[in-house]
Amino acid sequence: MMAVAWALISTEAIKLRRTIAVWLAVGAPALAVLIELIAVFGRTAPPRGDAGAQWRLLLQPGWTAWFGFCLPMFIAFEAAYLAHLEHSGKQWKQLFAFPIPRWGVYAVKMLFCALLAGVSFLIAVTGFVIDVLSYGVVYGLHLASVLPWPEILATAGKAYAASWLLIVIQSWLGARFTGIISPVGIGFAALVMGFVLLPIGEGALSSWYPWLLPLRTFLAAPGDLHQTTLPAVFGCTGAVVSGAIACWDLARRRDFA
């Protein structure tokens, strides 16, 4: 089993050489970092309150841009692109003629999408912190001495966990549709739908809508552990369950052009 897992993981890593997959993982958070930079330096006045509150306020535009738009769109593109690597050269028929379990091929796609999303989270977090620290230097705020790493990492970590369900759904769509346009289009439409649902507030659909889950971990009050943790737990659990169903659904098909 370990040999099979290693074969699948190492070959997936080879496939990513000289592709835009890694650049996407850099470019998407870079966009959010840029939005954060513009928003922070566009403030008319420095935020009030203690350093913790200042950090929270200054990071808000970045988190919102990242969790609300850049991250879901990045996942839609990345998942579709990873699947497209197999669709484009009609690779499925060759992959499934190897002595490897089919579900493993799909599971590794999801795993790599999650890994690349993890990399993009690290880049986003680092970029946001640099943005805020730069703002502090320019406006004479002593933000570096009270950098709230635990809170920042907890926010990012929960949103990352909440995004796994989205990763599975988009990977499923990517494998099902042969082109990139359809899964990305569905992802974009679902995201727009999420913006419509968002003002509805605490309704069941709005609370558990996969495209809103990362944002949900952040929108609740910082101290409200229940409200910020629940979407993350739901995202993880949902990813495991839907991931298993997705792998089963994709692997049972036997008609590869």
């Binding site: 050489r17 000289r18 690779q91 060759q94 379990p101």
Partner: protein
């Protein structure tokens, strides 16, 4: 007999369209099985089913005497394949493409080196596959299929796009695998002259997915009626003898021709003439090329003959 591939009344196709009709393949161990048929006969469909890429509507498949359904995917360790065009990652080099196959087949690094050497892809293996010509892609596809010297090799139109040098080296690779490792090889093709040079067994599909014939190459010649062309020293006497022996003979210039002959008949004619003191200068079955046999089979044999 020990069969590596056995199918029982295999029926299948795509969606609602039926491509294969009750095909019962028998591919003996260590044979080179030329799988012939016109375009759309179902050759590729059958090979896809043998790899588990397509589910049959009905019928059974056994590879190495094991039912395929229960043996997937582990049994594919013993199988190498090239179905239609090779599936290559164009952004990767040939070597990286080969490396992916090596890892997914759990083979040693040395195996890749041997496949590169055997197929002659070494000179361009470091270049991105997207820059390859059709023939280069085909060669790399063959290298990927033979990686690790599999016990069974399924090749679908492997000669497509190969130039004369490529064809020669391809034949030598196949013969080498067959002789050195006893590899069972199935080649589906419509290039009869190429298949003819390597195949030990032949399977012929009709245009509507029936298996018209399968068996050793010689059996095909024996089964299909051909022209027997004879040249002798005393042709008038020879005609009399043959006519007395109930053979229907024609005279074409200085040749005696017997239409609808089989190899059995050729033996009988030879015996009859020799015992009657006729010197034979020439006695041969005409139009015995694989292509001619194929045409005769597809026009004269009914599907039920092969079942």
């Amino acid at each position: 007999m020990d069969f590596v591939i056995e199918t029982d009344r295999l029926v299948g196709g795509y969606g609602k369209s039926m491509v294969l009709r009750e095909v019962s393949l028998r591919v003996p161990r260590a044979s080179i099985y030329g799988f012939l048929g016109p375009n759309g006969a179902g050759k590729t469909t059958a090979l896809r089913m043998l790899l588990g890429l397509l589910r049959p509507f009905s019928g059974e498949i056994r590879l190495f005497a094991e039912p395929l359904n229960g043996a997937l995917p582990g049994i594919l360790r013993r199988v190498g394949s090239l179905i239609e065009q090779p599936s290559l990652y164009d952004h990767l080099t040939g070597e990286e493409n080969l490396e992916i196959v090596r890892r997914l087949k759990f083979l040693k690094r040395a195996d890749a080196g041997r496949a590169i050497e055997a197929t002659g892809v070494g000179e361009y293996i470091q270049r991105p596959a997207g820059e390859y010509s059709r023939g280069m892609r085909q060669r790399l596809g063959v290298a990927m299929a033979i990686l690790g010297n599999p016990e069974l090799l399924l090749l679908d139109e492997p000669m497509n796009g190969l130039d004369a040098g490529g064809l020669r080296s391809f034949r030598s690779v196949l013969k080498n695998l067959h002789q050195e490792y006893g590899t069972t090889i199935v080649i589906s093709s419509h290039q009869f002259e190429e298949v003819e040079q390597v195949a030990t067994h032949i399977g012929i599909m009709s245009s509507v997915g029936d298996l018209l014939f399968q068996g050793p190459r010689e059996q095909l010649s024996a089964r299909v009626p051909q022209e027997l062309v004879i040249k002798v020293d005393r042709w008038e006497d020879a005609v009399k003898i043959l006519t007395a022996g109930n053979f229907k003979v024609d005279l074409q210039r200085e040749h005696i021709v017997i239409q609808g002959a089989t190899t059995e008949m050729a033996r009988e004619v030879n015996r009859l003439l020799v015992t009657n003191g006729i010197d034979i200068h020439h006695l041969a079955m005409d139009s015995a090329t694989l292509e001619a046999l194929f045409v005769k089979v597809t026009t004269t044999v009914k599907a039920w003959d092969a079942r």
